[in-house]
Structures are given as C-alpha cells and as structure tokens.
C-alpha cells in the first residue's frame, strides 16, 4: 500500500479492475442486507423518537423534538434499569473471565479425555438461552426447585427480592456463556509460545509469575476481544430476566425496557428514543474498548 502512494500514477490493469468489480458484486448482497435491516430501521427510530406517538392513539401524534430523551434521562426507571444492566454486565463478565480462563487452561493441558471435555463444554454454548433460563429458574423456584432443600433454605423466595433474583439471572448467564469465552481464550492461549514458558521456568519463575509475566501479556489481544464481545453481549441481556422475573423487583434491563415500551405498550415515540439511547450506549462501550483499552480489532475483522 505504501509503495503505491509514491508512484505517480499506476496504470490499473484490466485484471485488477475485473477483480475489484467481482469483489464488489460478490459482497453486494451482504452489504445490502446488513444496511437495509439495521441502518434504515435505526434511522426510522431516530425520526420516531422525536414524536409523541402511541399506536393506540395515532391521531395524537405530535412533534416534540428531544423531549422524549429529556424525559428518559430524568426518569428513575431508566436509571434503575441502567444500573441493573451495569451490575449484571460487570458481575457476569468478571466471573466469566476468571472461570473461562481456568476452563481454557484445563482444555489446553488435559491429555486424557480432551474430546469429551470439549464436547461437554459446547453444550451450554449451544443450548437455547431461554431453556437455560427455565432450567435455573425451576431449580430455584419454591414449587419445583431442589436448591432450597439441598442448602436448607426452606421457603426462601429467590425471585421475591432484587438481589437474589439477580443472583439467579447472573448464574444462568454465566453458566451458558462461560464456554464461549473459554474457547476464545483457548485460541489465545495456544498462541503463547511454549519456549517462553520453558525459558521463564529455567530462570526460576514461579507458576504465578509465569502466568502474570508471560502468559497473560502474550494473549492480551485475545483477552481484550473476548472481553469486548462478552461485555456487549451482557449489556444486551434480555432472555434471562424475561423468563425469570419479567422485570419484577427491579430486575428490568435496558433491552427489556426497549421491548416493553415498543412492543408491550406500543409507545413508539418513547420506545424509539430508548432504542436510540441503547444504541448509543453500545457505541460508547465499543469506543471505550477500542480507544481507551486499545483493543485490536483487526484480528476479529480478519484484516490480513
């Protein structure tokens, strides 16, 4: 690329032109689908968010400017859901990173039973999130669950309180998504050169020192990518709170709020404003990762 800029005017051959044209034709369907189904509705949401518009009262539609945003940002419900989402994200991602790393390390080192281990760990990854949510909900529910009997909690109602309900929601989320993060970390772990480990060992480094000084720095890219993906995934959490509590006891998340305003209450003006704010929050998180934490996304994108 750098050489091309110096030369006066490179004559582009027919072959290169043909290759460029073919490349555009082959990728056109992907471009069209992805843009049409996301950018257009998002733009539509931006427009709707400037109106006071309920589907139940189409005649009462009126332009209100940024008022919907102003209402949201002063509303206790929004900040409550924001905090719930933030708590779930921080707790699940932190725990998943630690457990996921341990899982990845076991998958790397294990000799006997490597195949069965990988098969087993893929089951939570592949299972439907709603199914996972029901499994854990019924394990803790008063009328069906074994947890209270096993731990001698008699009639403690897990879903009757914000924090215990969030505990079960986080548990289901962690169980289901740790395998994914551990596979991403495993991919990073196998790239750490074995001879560096050996050299550190010879120099008398303890296992802990080798982990912190050799292994982790060498897989920083994989860790950051796994963190970014899981953080954004957790930030969008919807299925688990829906199945477990339907948002009761202050367990509603931002995605849930967007769903409730748009689909349940058909309050499209306000709902669209929430959609836009949700979108902006995701952009902000990605920006912090890329600019603040210097996450290298070229590997994810697959730039050669």
């Amino acid at each position: 690329m750098s050489t091309a800029t110096k030369e006066p005017k490179v004559v582009v051959s027919e072959r290169v032109k043909g290759e460029r044209r073919l490349g555009l034709w082959l990728t056109a369907p992907s471009f069209v689908v992805m843009i049409l189904v996301t950018a257009y509705p998002l733009a539509y949401a931006v427009v709707l968010s400037l109106f006071n518009y309920r589907l139940t009262d189409p005649g009462g539609r009126e332009f209100v400017g940024l008022n919907n945003y102003w209402v949201i940002l002063r509303d206790a419900v929004w900040w409550n859901d924001f905090m719930t989402t933030l708590i779930i994200t921080v707790v699940t991602v932190a725990i998943e990173l630690v457990i996921g790393f341990m899982f990845a390390y076991v998958m790397l080192r294990i000799i006997r039973g490597r195949g069965p281990l990988r098969t087993a760990i893929l089951i939570p990854y592949g299972i439907v999130t709603v199914v996972s949510a029901f499994i854990w909900r019924y394990a803790f529910a008063l009328d069906s669950g074994f947890v209270n009997q096993w731990f001698g909690l008699t009639d403690f109602n897990w879903f009757g309180d914000r924090w215990s309900a969030l505990f079960v929601i986080c548990l289901s989320e962690i169980w289901k998504t740790t395998p994914f993060i551990s596979l991403l970390l495993l991919a990073g772990l196998v790239q750490v050169p074995e001879d560096m480990q050996e050299a550190a060992k010879v120099d008398g480094a303890t296992a802990w020192q080798r982990l912190v000084k050799v292994t982790l720095p060498n897989m920083k890219a994989a860790i950051m990518v796994a963190l970014l993906f899981r953080t954004l995934d957790a930030w969008r959490i919807f299925d688990n709170p829906f199945v477990m509590t339907r948002g009761a006891n202050n367990t509603e998340t931002i995605s849930f709020l967007a769903y409730r305003q748009n689909v349940t209450l058909v309050n499209l003006g306000m709902g669209s404003a929430i959609s836009v704010v949700l979108f902006l929050s995701v952009v902000a998180i990605a920006w912090v990762f890329v600019k603040g934490f210097k996450t290298d996304l070229s590997q994810v994108r697959g730039d050669s």
């Binding site: 992907s30 080192r109 087993a120 439907v128 999130t129 009997q149 769903y259 959609s275």
Partner: protein, 274 residues
C-alpha cells in the same frame, strides 16, 4: 504423571458443570405434574413418566412452534450461508476496495443492540404486512447471522490452497471439474461448520421471536415456551415446559456430539484469529 491426573480431575469437574443442569432438565421433564408442589420438591421424580412428552406433542401450540422453529432456522441458515459464501470468497481471494468496509460493517452488526430494532421493525413489518410471518423472522435472523457466517467462512477459505485448482487444470481437468473435484471438497467443511454455528444462532433467538410474532403462524419454540400452559389450569406447566425444552435441546446435543471438532475450530478460528 501425577500432574496429568489432576488435569483429568479438573476436566471431570468441567464436564459436571456443563451437564448437571441438563440432568436437572431431564429429571423435571419426567416428573408427574403433581411433583411440582410447594412443599419439599426433590431433585428426582417420585415416579418417572414420559406422559409430559406425549402431552406436549399433542398441543398444537408446541407442534406448530416446532415446525416454525425448524423451518425458519433452516431457511435463515441456508440464506445466510449462501450470501456469506460469496462475501467470504471475495474476502479470502480477491483484492478490492470495500473489503475493510465490509469487515467493519460486519463487526458493527455483531455488536448491534438488537432490542433497539424491535420497535422500528415491529412498526415496519406491520406496515408492509410481514408481521407474524416466517419472512418477518427470517430477515432479521439472516442479517444478524451474517457477521458470524462471513468471519467463520472467510477464515476457513483463507486456509484453502487455491493453487490446486490451477494445478488440476494444468493436469488436464476442465474448469468445472477442477472446481467440483478439488475446490468443493476443500471448501465444504468450512461451509458446513459455518452452517452449524449459524443454525445455533437462529435456533436460539427469543427477542425477535416474541416481538415480531403474535400467533402460532410464526411463533418459534423459545417464544412458545413463555406461553405454555399445563394440561389443565390446576396443573403446573413446569414438566411440560421442560419436556418441550428437552425437545429443542436434542438437535443441539446431536450437532455437538457429531461435530465437536468442527464447532471448536469454527468458533476459535472465526472469532479471534484472522
């Protein structure tokens, strides 16, 4: 020797972690509804029964949803794989402007908060008449499966020794023979693995399924689970829901058992390495 045994023990712990909730799901699905009472519910059923499965399959709410889930997921997967195959070929083999743009767009879509779209899509789909239809779900599934499909397949396609196509032609094969006998067998595993991951993605969706459907015309199983009732209103729906959950988990378990190696390769190559 001693340390390798400890790794095996750790492996057993992870297997238990992964499978224990499945055992619980199976146990619940085989409990008689009378086992679900406030009192002291136990882990295992008092009597084992398959009646819940019979009941679930006799309700059109579930059978319709199962057909919808299978049909919508398979069609969306097929479309995503075809569209992504063209893009992945171009990314792996050609130099053209727009390559980076496409990969960046895919990244943006993968991070996109889908809940931000349910409102506008709900409204638009009702406007153009595809609300509560298969097509209304296939379109968003196709869109959000594309990034995963494109990454996974282009990662596989990069590893294909494409020169072999020319080598075969030098040896006297026609262009079509070279493609069919050399390239197709080399590319097929990557395409197939991508299809599995894409299918998991479509099979899993809940948000679009409950937002863009209202009847059993297009409602998929994850959405139907949330509406499931017992055989009568005095009975707990729990064992029925779990029986239905077991049914939708079976395809996942079969695919994982049969293609473990491929899925791991697909997840690790597509998502992290280029």
């Amino acid at each position: 020797m001693k340390t390798s045994r400890w790794w095996t023990v750790a492996g057993v712990v992870i297997v238990a972690y992964s499978l224990f909730p499945l055992v619980w799901m199976l146990s619940l699905s085989m409990k008689p509804p009378s086992d679900i009472v406030s009192g002291e519910p136990q882990f295992l059923p008092t009597t084992w029964t398959f009646d819940n499965f019979k009941e679930v399959f006799s309700q059109s709410l579930f059978t319709r949803a199962l057909i919808n889930s299978i049909g919508i997921s398979l069609i969306a997967t097929l479309l995503a794989v075809i569209v992504a195959m063209f893009a992945a070929y171009a990314i792996a083999r050609l130099e053209f402007r727009g390559k980076r743009l496409l990969l960046s767009l895919a990244l943006a879509i993968a991070m996109f908060p889908q809940a931000a779209l349910v409102g506008p899509l709900f409204n638009m789909w009702r406007g153009i008449g595809i609300y509560d239809t298969w097509l209304g779900l296939i379109i968003p599934y196709l869109t959000f499966a594309l990034p995963l499909s494109i990454w996974t397949m282009s990662a596989f396609f990069r590893q294909i020794p494409w020169e072999m196509e020319q080598a075969a032609q030098v040896d006297g094969a026609t262009a079509w023979q070279a493609f069919r006998k050399v390239i197709v067998p080399l590319a097929a595993p990557g395409v197939f693995t991508t299809a599995i991951l894409t299918f998991f993605f479509c099979w899993n969706d809940f948000l679009f399924a409950i937002s863009l459907t209202s009847t059993d015309a297009a409602r998929t199983v994850p959405a139907a689970l949330a509406f499931f009732q017992g055989a009568s209103q005095f009975e707990s729906p729990v064992p029925y829901i779990m029986a239905a959950a077991v049914v939708v988990t079976i395809p996942v378990v079969i695919l994982v058992l049969a293609f473990q190696r491929r899925i791991v390769a697909g997840l690790t190559s597509g998502a992290v390495k280029g």
